[in-house]
């Protein structure tokens, strides 16, 4: 048995039957990290040393017959834009290279309450700005299916680490596709919950009205289990919504007869790779087979949503990133003589070019004279997008679209042309703009052996419906059994 290939619910089974111990599990993952991390480069901060003792301590308590939660001692990884008390939170930026948060994010309080063991802080695009994790100040994470390719982003470290079995699951954040796209490119499950379902307190803000914490897991059941942990109202977050206690594992049912699925044809237009289309069509056919009612319809908002997304996201980012000023906890330029220097030199030296680019765009669209033409229009488009989706959900329970127009691309392939990179977010951003839940699950492999993801979209707070639809398809198709990352191009 290869421990690190198991899902968390499989590990729980083995723990229950005393086939495994917490220490064994953690040691197995730590060993896998030692082996694969040099190739994959998914971690910014390695916490495995502390993890060994934590796992022994928890095992000891279990041996003393102490009753612990059924996730106690289970390893997890945390995207490095989620604040962890006493441990560096860098956002993959030189700006926060040595920043140690004095407090825990609300989601970390929840993870810690379960006594899960964090094996590390994971790589990402700087301040979550990017779709390839190439914008990290520290390292470029590789895709376990082909080490010459990107894992996607911005939660590329989280996706790659789970795909490479260095972690059973991980937390990520999604502002425009940052969980779903890397999950898709790495052949795992990713969920971006409804805006307001998971607290943003302690999650370093990129775009406040779009950011949401979510999960990256090996299968849908783990996805439901980890969502149970992080979801819930938080008084620290004014935009947090109280939908009451929910057990998302209740939604793990195979029967989807009568499920109404909408297929917005504009999401399958030009720019979407043929193999991706074919794979999606096959998946949709499978849903029909399983008794779902599938219908194609028109939802012509993707282009507007993408434009509105970049205006709103960058505008909010230009403001959110103002606090990194070289005064209280960030990098300060050694050259700084005057106050102006402290601001300008520190920010210019410590922000990467993509971050600067978005700050400049955001500052521009908010500046006097352009506000109405861009920001205000974008906010109207936002209403339009929401209305169009609401109409769609009067008819359908779930919408199915591609996640990414292509499978994983080569490192460096798009990093020269920002616009090209932005356009690749076409399928994912409208979900954030509307604040809806979106899920990515693997649905196939292209001719180069790279995973293809399918996106399931639901109405606000309909995570159960998404989980049910995803679970049924997963049980039917069993992607994980058929395909595994090959670490192609790695040292054999």
């Amino acid at each position: 048995m290869n421990i690190t290939e198991l899902t968390v619910h499989e590990l729980q089974e083995k723990l229950k039957n005393k086939e495994l111990t917490i220490t064994q599990i953690n040691e197995a993952y730590i060993k896998q990290i030692k082996e694969k991390e040099p190739e994959v480069q998914a971690f910014i901060t390695d916490l495995t040393e502390a993890a060994i003792n934590q796992s022994k301590e928890i095992q000891a308590r279990l041996d003393n017959g102490e009753e612990l939660g059924n996730l106690a001692g289970i390893p997890i990884g945390i995207k490095d834009n989620i604040c962890t008390k006493g441990v560096k939170t860098t956002c993959a930026s030189k700006m926060l290279e040595n920043f140690v948060a004095p407090y825990d994010a609300t989601v970390m309080n929840k993870v810690n309450a379960e006594e899960m063991i964090s094996l590390g802080k994971l790589n990402m695009d700087e301040f979550a700005m990017g779709s390839s994790t190439e914008n990290s100040y520290f390292k470029k994470t590789k895709n376990p299916w082909d080490l010459s390719r990107v894992p996607g982003g911005s939660s590329g470290g989280s996706a790659a680490a789970v795909a490479a079995n260095m972690l059973p699951w991980a937390l990520g954040t999604d502002t425009g596709g940052s969980i779903r796209q890397p999950a898709s490119l790495c052949g795992i499950v990713g969920l971006k919950p409804t805006y307001g379902l998971v607290s943003r307190y302690g999650v370093v803000a990129y775009a406040s009205s779009l950011d949401q914490v979510g999960v990256l897991t090996k299968d849908v059941q783990d996805c439901a289990m980890l969502l149970n942990v992080i979801a819930g109202y938080d008084e620290m977050d004014s935009t947090s919504v109280d939908v009451g206690e929910k057990d998302y594992t209740q939604a793990l049912q195979k029967d989807i007869k009568g499920l109404k699925i909408g297929v917005p044809k504009e999401f399958y237009g030009e720019g979407i790779n043929e193999e991706v289309k074919v794979s999606l069509e096959t998946a949709i056919a499978k849903y029909k087979e399983m008794g779902a009612e599938v219908e194609e319809f028109s939802l012509d908002i993707a282009q507007y949503a993408l434009a509105a997304y970049y205006i709103i996201a960058c505008a909010e980012a230009s403001s959110n990133l103002g606090r990194y000023d070289g005064i209280r906890y960030t990098y300060r330029s050694p050259e700084a003589q005057t106050l102006k220097d402290v601001f300008k030199k520190s920010r210019s030296e410590a922000f990467g070019s993509e971050v600067k680019r978005r700050i400049i765009l955001g500052t521009y669209v908010l500046s006097s004279g352009y506000y109405d033409a861009y920001y205000k229009k974008a906010q109207q488009v936002r209403t339009l997008v929401m209305n169009e989706f609401s109409k769609a959900f009067e008819k359908y329970d779930v919408l199915i679209t591609p996640v990414s127009p292509t499978t994983a691309f080569k490192i460096g392939e798009k990093s020269t042309n920002p616009m090209e990179m932005y356009l690749a977010d076409i399928c994912t951003v409208s979900i954030n703009v509307a604040g809806l839940p979106g899920m990515s699950i693997p649905c196939g492999i292209d001719s180069q052996g790279l995973p293809i993801g399918m996106q399931l979209i639901g109405k606000k707070f309909s995570e159960e419906t998404l989980i049910k639809a995803a679970y049924a398809y997963e049980q039917e198709t069993n992607f994980r059994e058929k395909y595994k990352p090959t670490f192609k191009g790695g040292v054999q």
Partner: protein, 479 residues
Amino acid sequence: MAREDYEVVMGLEVHAELSTKTKIFCSCPTTFGAEPNTQVCPICMAMPGVLPKLNEKVVEYAVKAGLATNCEISRDSKNDRKNYFYPDTPRAYQISQYDKPLCEHGYIEIETTQGTKKIGITRIHIEDDAAKLDHDNFGGGALIDINRAGVPLIEIVSEADFRSAEEVDAYLKKLKSILEYVEVSDCKMQEGSFRADVNISVRKKGETKFGTRTETKNMNSFRSITRLINYEAERQIDVIENGGVITQETLRWDEVSGKTFSMRDKENAQDYRYFPEPDLVAIKLSDEYIENIRKSLPEMPESRKQRYLNDYKLSEKDAGIITASKHLSDLFEKASEICGNHKAVNNWIISDISRILNENEMDPVEIPFDAEQLAKLVMLIDKGTISSSIGKKVLEELFENPKDPEDIIKEKGWIQISDEGAIKEVVVKIIEANPQSVADFKAGKDRALGFLVGQAMKETKGKANPQMLNKMFAEELKK
């Protein structure tokens, strides 16, 4: 052209710190003068990942202030980000209100030598105060204390309705007293919890459009504001008279030189890039909510004044002075109730207490003694335990180190001599010592009696009971 041909036009932006227990967006205490960076948390420190949460009392207090200044309260309001880099602004944006302030279209009536005038209030909005920046004597550097960052403020923006320093002064005092009455701010100016940005421009009389204005920020003394207005108006007129033009700019008032200076390096034509705060949600106030606050408003200065005129028969002037300050007014009512002699209490407040406040540039809220102690003083005089001249000394003492007046006069040995024998002794002594005066008196010069009584008072250090002295002298001199 002559000075008289110009008129000064002014508008005010007053910032008042609200007296809530905690900050506007986090649960840190707001106590003034705490050790640097001890009343802070990740939120007011603008750490990565933190989120603001609006203090309900801040909304309530702002609405109170709005109702007390005849404003319309918005049913639909929100918070906006005002973006700018300055070391006293940890987030690099202030959370304020842009196009939907909580209160709008109000006014205040002021009394000046020119009579009554309505001053328009454009808006009142809520926002957070900035951190404290210590520019001085730190080896060329500056030090930042975040304690004040996030203390709740209301900004009260007036129309450009002021035409004289006197009007500005009257408005500020009236506004201050209103905020004290509704108990939303302690308005301690020397602590900066009530401060004004003064916009000043001049124009030729008869001119309909405004001249270019200058703005002087954070003025926190009535005297300085009057000085500022007089200086700045003169300066602008000089510039124009000498063919120059006024540049719109932010000025700094220098108390020592009594001059204004340009603050170039700071706000050079700022572009604040306001946009709606995405970390907070809409504020939608119901009529019921607003009505409940309206009902909760305390009695305002005007109606108290009327009451004093009717019930206590105070003079228009006295009632005005006392009700101008909630603290004085409360002191008057409580002390009068305890000692039952509101005439005496009124006299103490109008004469000696006001005098001492002026001499020491003190605000009534800084009066160290309480109503009970003042009442006790009045009663001691009424009972004849001390003379009113001793009373004045007791009052001085109450300002120095306040305690029960009875203890004061015991310790100081100020109790009045009302013992027949003791008084007679003194009288005889004075008569023997002043044969000339005695002769004058007998020759019919009544003034001589006053002199003798005065001598006796001196002899007894003012402690002799004046009525008894007079009586005793009259008797002795008849002999």
